[in-house]
Subunit: 348 residues, 2 copies
């Protein structure tokens, strides 16, 4: 997940920016009702839109790999999900689903997810416009070869009515410990809902906001233009970034040494614990991320902390351990991995 190892604008609050487009191919039944034969047709058409008959890419610049989910071991599939390179939905029918993944791991085209095509671009920090440019370019490339299901009045047609129109979901993943600690999140969540946005936890719909990480995205896809949707999210996101920075400043001033103490203690536990649940891990790494963003722990890049955050996720822990882990074994292995990683980057 290269975007996690790279710096990005407003990285102190914004982990990533993501643009996703939902598309379906005309004259093939939608995934909810299609037969395996149809799924194969979809996969072939999308693949052929990127690669010509000799297997060469139709365009230069971005370099894609075509990966059938049936060729990917279960653990690697979960890692794709944890890296936000693919969705859990895509893994429901691995016998027919596939992805096109670019060599920078910024762009994914998911095939036979809830829609025939779900293409997304994820960039580090606050880069919605650049992500939109990129995915728009990919969309055009595919559309040169494929007829999309499109309705004059409604726009792009999708399996779920919430995606009809632009088929666009723009989202920013934000680290909001300041607003969480100062109990401002509920008010913010209520406000953004009123203006057509929604907030979810790190693993999407219904997931808990572990480690004070929120995905904020547009709810409405029908009506406004793509530019309006992205603009709306951009404006609100920047306001939240400002509010979060103010909250951090206030916490530091009011909390003084007691506040710093709590962040350093989190650091101490990550460096020494022998068992750690995902929930505790996310809470502690959130504190350390806050401390780094404030300059309390000097000489550490935020993207290094974010990379550790990924290492602590369940499938990543399992893979590193090289096998199936049961019950608290995951928590023991997580503690081992995190201890080593933190020691390396903290240089204390």
């Amino acid at each position: 997940m290269n975007w996690l190892n790279e710096a990005g604008p407003e990285r102190d609050v914004t982990l990533t920016s993501r643009i996703r487009l939902a598309r379906n191919i005309a004259d093939i039944p939608f995934p909810t009702v299609m037969l395996p034969e149809h799924a194969r047709q979809v996969a072939e058409k999308v693949r052929n839109s990127i690669f010509d008959f000799s297997g060469h890419q139709r365009f230069a610049g971005i370099k894609f790999a075509y990966i059938k989910m049936s060729d990917v071991p279960e653990i690697e599939r979960q890692i794709l999900v944890e890296k936000h390179l693919a969705s859990q939905d895509l893994m429901e029918h691995p016998e027919v689903s596939a992805i096109l993944l670019d060599s920078n791991e910024e762009i994914t085209v998911m095939i036979n997810e809830e829609d025939h095509i779900r293409m997304q671009c994820v960039l580090p920090g606050f880069q919605l416009s650049k992500a939109w440019e990129t995915i728009s370019y990919i969309d055009d490339l595919i559309e040169e070869q494929v007829d999309y299901a499109f309705h004059e009045e409604f726009g792009y047609l999708t399996s779920c009515p919430t995606n009809v129109g632009t088929g666009l979901r723009s989202s920013v993943m934000m680290h909001l410990p300041g607003l969480t600690m100062s109990n401002q999140m509920n008010a913010i969540l209520q406000t953004i809902t009123k203006i057509g946005l929604t907030a979810r936890g790190i693993y999407g719909e219904g997931s808990e906001a572990l480690g004070s990480i929120y995905q904020i995205s547009n709810q409405v896809t029908l009506g406004p233009t793509e530019e309006d949707i992205i603009n709306n999210l951009s404006i609100v996101s920047r306001q939240i970034v400002d509010k979060e920075r103010q909250a951090r400043k206030a916490l530091r001033q009011a909390g003084g040494i007691q506040f710093e103490d709590s962040l350093w203690r989190a650091c101490g536990l990550l460096l020494h614990a022998r068992i750690m649940s995902l929930k505790e891990f996310m809470s502690l790494i959130s504190s350390v991320r806050l401390a780094v963003s404030m300059g309390l722990i000097p000489g550490v890049a935020l993207e290094k902390i974010d990379a550790v955050m990924t290492m602590g996720q369940p499938a990543n822990v399992m893979k590193k351990a090289g096998g199936r882990l049961k019950g608290k074994e995951v928590d023991v292995e997580r503690a081992n991995i995190i201890r080593g990683a933190m020691r390396e980057i903290l240089n204390l």
Copy 2:
């Protein structure tokens, strides 16, 4: 406090062994009723029992310094108490009290405490016999020059009836986290009370058993001989040492990684916290001491941990900070000192 920096027998459970004798000088009123003039006479007589008219010591081997409490700054007096080199009682009347302190800081003769003379020897680990030999020798040296208040039937007379007879208090300072964690301490405390022993916290009578540290000593001074008293305490102490070791073993086996996790977390907090109360500090350092004694943290000598324990005591923290500290400033300074000291000895 040299004994804290030295190894000693059964150091895993026994921090120190201490023998103390209470003596009063015949024909001078006891401290509770004496006038300042009497106190001066006591100090002079005790001093002259060690040094001749030219200021030379009357004997070789042990080297004493004579220190008037009125010459010792308040903070240094508290450090003497924290080092267990003098009692809090001695500090009640600093204008007349004094100590003779040997260069190894193992032997102290307190002058004008609750009794005219309180002499003690503290050694690292389990060394009651050696401490008794040493203090017995000092007692003889003083008695060559001074007439003790002695009653044919009762023995040595003291201010408080609980010390009459031998005037002897023998005690061992024990670290009993295993018995504490496995809830066996109450039963042990009840048992030892029945056989004429008593248990107190690290700062003597009435003090809380911070960090699972207990001073176990004889209650009875009248009746049995000195050897009987010391023997009795020795036998019981060795039984407690065994029980503590069994409890640690059982905890480690039953607790497994969860138990180790709790000890390492204590380590992490000592290494990183920015504020730390005395109570929390004693609890955490107790866990680390346990971990070291079990070999969980290799390459660290227990006496180094015990030295850190002393560094974290209030007067030591104040002195290191070089001035009066108010409220939570002590806790901040303690955290600073402990962080540095732990980093140095742990070598993680």
